[in-house]
Amino acid sequence: MNTTILSVDRLSKFFVLNRTFLGNAAATVKAVDTVSFSIFPGETLGLVGETGCGKSTLARTIAGLYSPTEGKVLFKGQNIHCDHGKETNMLFKRQIQMIFQDPYSSLNPRMTIHDIIEEPLNIHKLAKGKEKEARISSLLLQVGLNPEYGSRFPHECSGGQRQRVGIARALAVSPELIVCDEPISALDVSIQAQIINLLEQLQTELRLTYLFIAHDLSMVRHISTRVAVMYLGSLVELASTEELYSHPLHPYTQALLSAIPIPDPAIESHRKRILLPGDIPSPLDPPSGCKFHSRCHYAMPICQKSPPELTATDLNHYTACHLVK
């Protein structure tokens, strides 16, 4: 359990925006700012945070779609952003796959379901002829779709079915780590549970490791082994699920947890909420020091000056806050 499958080491990803008319004075979005964590084989690491905090950017950098501004991503000890020669590079592409948020834009509208799942098999030359057809059918069955669906086009499937196709496409190359970027947030409530159950079932069957991104904290609690909380590009807290939900240490995590409405009027009627003042600051111009200080009820003078480091407060519990030392 101590060997990590993926470790992210002081990873940063900045986007340079040309905002002025002449395109000279550039503004920088620090979408991911010095983030470090590891993922262990077979676990599900949940990653939560509000809109624009950099979850997708982090996910795509880990999957190798973006190259990092600084820091590195090690998959089983090897830096995935270095060139290891064509063969090893392709091997990385097989081992890390992604499931996307939008079931409407994640499938090519001009390809049939069959062709969509076939594409990765062709790229990696994993199967041919009859064997390939059998593999496609078994992948469809695995995600709970009748192989007859292969002849359909994406627009003839419901949102949940499309998401299943996206999962089958990711599974086609037998990956070890799957980065799920909000795979359920565009789905109907009754379909979300179907997809979550499918992901859990596949995890046990195929011994997959997930990085599961969501803004729905209830679902993250349900599916994750450990949970990381992100705010404006930085990790503010990382702990095992039970620990994080029962003893949140960072003021932001506390507010986030108290803000989720519970589907039970009996509890809701006498629940006290921690209401955060104000809005999420713009990532173009984040607050100095601790990025959360502008909304924090406990902010101290030091919080405006120096950014707190993510430090272990307990075995398996890391917090980045000057209050918690």
Binding site: R60, A63, G64, L65, N89, M90, K93, R94, I96, Q97, M98, F100, Q101, D102, S105, S106, L107, N108, P109, R110, M111, T112, I116, E119, P120, I123, H124, N146, E148, S151, R152, F153, H155, E156, G166, R169, A170, V173
Partner: protein, 304 residues
């Protein structure tokens, strides 16, 4: 209502059959074609375009006259059973000349669409796919050229090159792909960010595969629409150039030449202007109706 206890026995609810009628492999193109068929004007346009193409290819052989043969005794005859469209001031059969003009106009249209499809699509595609600095430089050039009306360029070029069919092709070729380049680049830029392209890159798909399997098939709709709408523009440009004397030269007869000849004798023989003018307007309208129809049936925002 009488309800027997057996009514409350558990039994599975009748399920919808798996393949419902609405979902049996109708592809995007079949869908689009069905929608296009519902558009009366577009279909009328399409039929007219097919007819005039046929007539332009075959017509001059069957009319019994040649476009250049003069027959002065029969000059300026009104439409009759001999000459359906009448004759011009040199006694040439007007219908033959209008049909012959169709050849020139349509070949100009085809040339324009070929230029659009090659230069425009390639230029825009490369700019959009490469992105960054290359895109910036390539598109600034287009922006600068686009700032001035295309017709003005063409007129200037024709003044420099001199009249003639080949020169018209050349002049059109130099500037008529700008609009297409912009549209294709915009398309590629948006599609490039779609999650299915990311998914393909994630599996290690090569640039060529991404272009051929994902980017181009998904931009074909707008490319087709732009091409269809560029044809009437080119036809009109040629007619206009010929009308002001910069186009093809006698005895070749383009619609613009015929119209300008017709204007001279407008008072006495109005039919000499009427037929070429009709040919120009109906052809342009047809292409425009078809283009608009294609836009409605291919545009994803109009879907379902």
């Amino acid at each position: 209502m009488h309800i027997t206890p057996s009514a409350f026995h558990r039994t599975p609810f009748p399920q919808e059959p798996l393949s419902t009628a609405s979902a049996t492999g109708t592809s995007y193109w079949q869908d689009a074609w069905r929608r296009l068929q519902n558009n009366k004007l577009a279909i009328a346009g399409l039929i007219f375009i097919l007819l005039i193409t046929l007539a332009a290819i075959a017509g001059p052989h069957f009319s019994g006259y040649s476009y250049a043969d003069q027959n002065l005794p029969e000059a300026n005859q009104p439409p009759s059973s001999m000459h359906w469209f009448g004759t011009d001031n040199l006694g040439r059969d007007l219908m033959t000349r209008v049909l012959y003009g169709a050849r020139i106009s349509l070949s100009i249209g085809i040339a324009a669409s070929l230029i659009n499809l090659t230069v425009g699509v390639l230029y825009g595609g490369i700019a959009g796919y490469a992105g960054g600095r290359i895109d910036n430089i390539m598109m600034r050039i287009v922006d600068i050229l686009y700032g001035i009306p295309l017709l003005l360029y063409v007129i200037l070029l024709m003044v420099v090159l001199g009249p003639g069919l080949l020169n018209i092709f050349l002049a059109l070729g130099l500037v008529y792909w700008l609009g297409m380049a912009r549209i294709v680049r915009g398309q590629i830029l948006t599609i490039k960010k779609q999650e299915y392209v990311l998914a393909a890159r994630l599996t290690g798909a090569s640039s060529a595969r991404i272009l051929l399997r994902h980017l181009i098939p998904n931009s074909i709709g707008p490319i087709l629409i732009t091409t269809t709408l560029a044809i009437p523009e080119a036809i009109f440009t040629e007619a206009f150039l010929s009308f002001i004397g910069l186009g093809v030269s006698a005895p070749m007869a383009s619609w613009g030449v015929l119209a300008s000849e017709g204007v001279v004798s407008l008072r006495s023989y109005p039919f000499q202007l009427l037929y070429p003018a009709l040919a120009i307007s109906i052809t342009m309208l047809s292409f425009n109706f078809l283009g608009d129809g294609l836009r409605d049936s291919l545009d994803p925002r109009m879907r379902k």
